[in-house]
């Protein structure tokens, strides 16, 4: 009887540990804050990467064209994992549709989310061995959370300076965007903006 209980406890512990390992944040900032570290080197897949310098004084909304500012109503961001595409609407007005890179080495969650925090730049790190990455100055980061995906897990939409393979899964769970697209979205989307992620990424 005692042996069975111990076995059950061990089984539950193993399942919990497995769950933590499987569902742990795949691309996590050391802390959720603005971090500008100009001159610091990054690491991605064993390669050193020089991040772009961030100039906060120069940070301002990108110029909008006529029509963009006229749109009113609810904003919504859709990410289709199967086509690796992000589409943003304000009511029926299409703001952008761009290729992105979602999870390859970690799963991008599907469901309904909202942006809970935005930073012009922050640091992200994670992975192990060949998969290790540590990237300062990740630009235009928009963290999202929702049912089943706690804010602490660190999923985000953000600009990307360490690869250029958009339209194909390339991330550890976040939604990688071209920096030029992330900048545009960053200044368009506010806190609490809705995000829907759906579909299945190509294997």
């Amino acid at each position: 009887m005692i042996g069975k209980r111990i076995g059950l406890i061990l089984l539950l512990l193993a399942l919990a540990l497995g769950g933590i390992i499987f569902f742990k944040p795949k691309q996590t900032p050391l802390d959720f804050s603005l971090k500008v570290e100009n001159g610091a080197m990054g690491v991605f897949h064993g390669q050193e990467v020089m991040p772009p310098a961030i100039d906060l004084a120069a940070a301002e909304p990108v110029t909008t064209v006529l029509g963009e500012t006229d749109a009113t109503g609810e904003k919504h961001i859709y990410i289709d994992l199967s086509t690796q595409t992000l589409t943003a609407y304000q009511e029926d007005y299409l703001f952008m549709t761009v290729p992105v890179s979602t999870g390859k080495w970690g799963r991008t969650p599907v469901g309904e989310f909202t942006i809970w925090s935005k930073f012009r730049a922050t640091r992200m790190s994670g992975g192990h061995g060949n998969d290790y990455y540590n990237l300062p100055n990740v630009p235009y980061t928009m963290f999202f959370s929702g049912p089943g995906v706690a804010a602490a897990r660190g999923f985000a939409l953000h600009g990307t300076y360490w690869h250029n393979n958009f339209g194909h899964p390339m991330s550890h769970g976040c939604v990688n965007m071209r920096t030029v697209d992330a900048e545009k979205l960053f200044y368009w989307a506010g806190i609490n903006e809705k995000i829907t992620i759906y579909g299945q990424a190509p294997l």
Binding site: V49, Y161, N164, N165, H168, R178, L203
Partner: protein
């Protein structure tokens, strides 16, 4: 009497306005399409534009069609700088050149072009500032290097850059079926077989 004078004055003003508009329009820069179409154009035609992922480098690919050959010209420019010609090549007319969406390396130093012919697709790598990539050549063409090293596979598509110097491409097996993905490491001009396929 006043009414008649007013009508005459109105007519005069309308006529003057119409003549003035016509003269102004004729002196304004006119669309040149008709003239250009009527003559053989000496200037190349813009075929494709491209952009680096951070938006800092813009690319323009132009072609000049001859009888049996096509001359291709690629220019690259940064913001506030005049675009500079970084590559030119004349090819048989049945070969086309294009700028893939993810053409520019993450550090903006290199780019690759796709060259499609009736029997073969090649990929050319070059530097964005036009300097030679090796001691002997301005460009590196990696599909032939790959075929020599891995004759059992053929390249289906180069999708982009997996890192600073790493071009990602997918393959098919010559015997049939999908093959693995590879990285072409530009720094050592070598190939890295990947355990994951980059679909």
């Amino acid at each position: 009497m006043d009414k008649r004078r007013f009508k005459s004055l109105l007519f005069f003003l309308m006529a003057a306005g119409a003549i003035g508009t016509l003269m102004f329009w004729r002196q304004s820069p006119q669309p040149a399409e008709i003239k250009v179409l009527a003559e053989p154009s000496p200037s190349p035609k813009l075929v494709l534009n491209g952009q680096s992922a951070d938006g800092k480098i813009t690319l323009a690919l132009k072609q000049n069609q001859g009888a049996d050959t096509t001359s291709w010209t690629l220019t690259a420019g940064q913001a506030k700088e005049k675009p500079k010609t970084i590559w030119q090549l004349t090819l048989p007319s049945d070969i086309t050149v294009s700028i893939p969406f993810n053409a520019v390396s993450p550090d903006n130093k290199y780019l690759f072009l796709k060259q499609e012919g009736p029997d073969k697709t090649r990929y050319l790598v070059l530097s964005t500032n036009g300097t030679a990539l090796t001691k002997d050549a301005q460009t590196v063409e990696f599909s032939e290097l790959f075929e020599t090293k891995y004759p059992e596979f053929k390249i289906t598509e180069a999708t982009g850059w997996g890192g600073i110097n790493l071009i990602v491409f997918n393959t098919d097996k010559i015997a049939g079926g999908p093959g693995p993905s590879f990285w072409f490491d530009l720094s050592g001009q070598s190939f890295i077989l990947l355990s994951n396929r980059f679909n």
